[in-house]
Assembly symmetry: C2
Homo-oligomer: 152 residues x 2
DNA sequence: AGTGAAAGTCAACTGTA
DNA sequence: TACAGTTGACTTTCACT
């Protein structure tokens, strides 16, 4: 689907706060409540809006330690790739896993309590996955920017 | 604040779908509607739930190209650091910027339309920021896993 | 695509245990 | 900390422009 200026503004507003009422949105967009309602439904039905979620502050739930892990597989046999991707997806500590270009095959975003929890995660979970060749971890010192809002 | 089993379950539910009604949540948690309401308010007031947002599918808004950029500063003078972090934060294409340990200083998550848009971003925006020493980019070939839900 | 008004549903507040 | 009942506000539908 295509987006006019109002759709774009609406998506930006909803990406920053999905708990606004249609009335509030209608004021910001100079539209009627019903028009806002129908535009939102259209965005939902077309799969543009994937889902609505609550974002939790990691510091409040003892998950302040974030690390990015590079992973190289030992061999790039399809069977190994499929199995690795399946197993890594099942790890709750892994919030993101990207297959990437470059020296390593994968980049993982891992969230745990502290360095000790990260050590445990590496030893007991990640490196227990078969076919991993090598890993290289980077620790997040500070979070400069972090948003889920895609610029439209 | 501390969390009992119900709080944890509630946070998981809301992190996956924040549009459920309190009645639906009350069924899943075997609790009354009011109890659910009060628990949610407590989580919001304590800052555990940071905000509610709509998640947009990047493929639907022509932002299918994701890259991770390593960045090294030319010098680690505080003034340079502050200015770099400020300028990079203002770039809408940069969804995340992490100050990290290791060979490079920063890891950025960048989202644009395609490789050509990425080239433009690099040439016209990113490398125009002062005090950047070197960069190294990795392109996302496929997204194996991506969630905003922190395991509680 | 847009609007205003009607109908149904929910969030939010009150009382009480 | 939990519950049930009340009320105003909201979402959703409908008839119409």
């Amino acid at each position: 689907m295509t987006f006019d200026a109002i759709d774009k503004k609406l998506l930006q507003l909803l990406q920053n706060d999905s708990k606004q009422t249609n009335k509030e949105l209608s004021n910001k967009l100079n539209l009627s409540v019903t028009a806002v309602f129908e535009r939102i439904k259209k965005l939902e039905n077309n799969g543009v809006i994937n889902k609505y979620v609550a974002l939790v502050k990691k510091e409040k739930v003892e998950k302040s330690f974030v690390a990015f892990c590079h992973i190289k597989l030992s061999q790039h046999i399809q069977e190994y790739v499929v199995q690795f991707e399946k197993e890594v997806t099942n790890l709750t500590e892994v919030l993101e896993c990207h297959h990437i270009s470059g020296d390593y095959d994968y980049l993982l975003k891992v969230m745990v309590k502290d360095m000790e929890a990260f050590r445990e995660f590496m030893v007991e979970k990640l490196t227990n996955i078969n076919h991993i060749g090598s890993t290289h971890s980077m620790f997040v010192i500070s979070e400069v920017k972090s948003t889920t809002a895609i610029p439209i």
